[in-house]
Symmetry: C2
Subunit: 328 residues, 2 copies
């Protein structure tokens, strides 16, 4: 295993310490490395809390800040955070307007966020994200997996929370965003979890995993190496078939790198995906390109589409100030 680490058991905490130092103007790290939270909370605003296993950085800690999350609870790599961590985060950032939990659909996450919600004093609601069209159920999930679309839910709901919407309104919005968002990914190579020390899966030199999950879970099928255009076509067609976007409505195209794929390839995929979408009469009105929802150093990418209306577009464009997404 070749990694810039000291000891496998310390990777998460040392990385969080570095993250907290680098972004101390906007976030703070809670005692015991339990969660990352905004330095300054807005009293009366609904608190948005997410989290999940580490290894997907910048998700979720990189999305804590004005316009997105109030707190993020990192579990060990590819491991759910504990109910205790999440409960402490809720207690810390709920200023009285309640908490909305944004949870990717994995059994461990769902269970632990649920237990934390039961421990909370204030009102708590949960949005479950399950945007991955690749498979109907998977290694760690009952039903579809939550993948890169989680970023879109966190961004749009985060912007709406800044406007002072109620917990119920934000819950409904989160569900609406999830219902208009679909993703699918492809892996060209595996990643290695430090504590495991060997690759999560193996692919032959001429193979790709179509529909891979963000923990290296199996996808739909293993195929022979193919062109970027062919890959983009399969991902986009699978998404469209499932999303069935309305005619003439614009969409957000989010090409997400898994960690080991360079930007030059991701932008090439943007070009390919845009052309295929155009061919279906779907216009791309917003773009996001980069490695935002990763699987350590896995090679490959995912495509996420969110069907935009005027409100979704406005919320996407709203100012955001986090470590990983920053615009005004």
């Amino acid at each position: 295993m070749k990694k810039l680490i000291n000891a496998p058991e310390n990777v998460l905490y040392e990385s969080l310490d570095g993250f907290a130092a680098a972004h101390e103007d906007t976030i703070t790290l809670a005692a015991g490395h339990k969660f990352i939270r905004r330095k300054t909370l807005t009293p009366g605003k609904v608190a948005l809390i997410s989290g999940g296993g580490a290894g997907h950085e910048p998700l979720h800690a990189g999305f804590v800040g004005r316009g997105m999350l109030d707190a993020a609870c990192p579990g060990q790599i590819f491991t759910s955070p504990t109910p205790d961590q999440i409960a402490e985060a809720i207690k810390d950032v709920d200023t009285g307007a309640g908490s909305l939990l944004i949870v990717k659909n994995y059994e461990g996450d769902v269970m632990n966020f649920e237990m934390a919600a039961e421990l909370a004093d204030g009102q708590v609601m949960t949005v479950l994200v399950d945007d991955d069209v690749a498979v109907a159920k998977s290694t760690y999930s009952i039903g579809r997996r939550g993948v890169a679309g989680t970023l879109v839910v966190e961004k749009l709901v985060g912007a709406a929370a800044e406007e002072g919407r109620t917990l119920e309104e934000l819950h409904a919005l989160g569900q609406a965003v999830n219902s208009r968002t679909r993703s699918m990914g492809v892996a060209l190579g595996s990643c290695t979890v430090p504590a495991a020390g060997s690759p999560t899966f193996t692919l032959a030199d001429d193979e790709m995993e179509m529909g891979v999950g963000i923990h290296g879970e199996p996808g739909r099928r293993r195929v022979k190496l193919r062109s970027a255009d062919a890959v983009a076509a399969e991902l986009v067609e699978s998404i469209i078939e499932d999303l069935r976007p309305s005619n003439g409505r614009g969409c957000l195209l989010f090409v997400n790198g898994f960690g080991g794929t360079p930007l030059v390839e991701l932008y090439l995929m943007v070009n390919a995906a845009k052309r295929i979408l155009c061919g279906h009469g779907i216009s791309v009105t917003r773009f996001l390109t980069g490695s935002y929802v990763t699987s350590l150093e896995m090679a490959g990418c995912s495509i996420t589409l969110t069907e935009l209306d005027t409100e979704f577009t406005r919320l996407w464009d709203a100012p955001v100030r986090t470590a990983a997404l920053n615009w005004s």
Copy 2:
């Protein structure tokens, strides 16, 4: 070779088309894929132009926009842009106040930017960036190589250019920033140039290349796999020994991923580097962490230190609006 591409010879152009589509609100792509430029120029402002071989994305195209570059000329992967490309960019973005070329110190780049400057009608000056302390000369360079410190030069000079400074002032500033900036990198694995089809170099499973260049050029020495702390110590000590920062002055710590190393490791390196700097009485007052000056999917990272004074800090903090760096 496993990549999300169609044909090796089209990688750059298809990627630039995707980049131009994704960022059409702020930049435009010139005919013939010759350069990326700001959509809107500021008349009377000195034009900042950079460029170099592709494969280092987001450098340089990702740094075109308000507060940084006016234009970036991409060569083929790891290949200098032609004098013709650069000359056309100068002609296009010089609004009368002259052009400052920011050039990484590689023979091909130096020669082609020089030829372009000779073709230009307006006044042209050049800042050469040579921040890499690893080796005194290298495969493609006479003297030190220009690496991730280029981002710092482009950011600080870019901010100063927005203030209306003259070409001579910006030239002097660029040289001052370069003289207060040092970098050194480490590779854990190679990258593959699409046109070559096989890895640029090979490292055994238990080896690292200390002082590697951003095209996979040899560094100081090949060592056995070691801890992140030991790697950070060697990089930071080499930089400090050369930079000899003044006592009590703050610095910018820029931990740069080469493309194949995940953020969780980069932040762990931030933590390690900061602790070592603290031990030398050097306080880190600004941070940048991410894969900004890459070598395709090469695994590894570089550390860059810039000694900051009040002016440098103010210019670093100044608003920037580009595809890859964006703050206000």
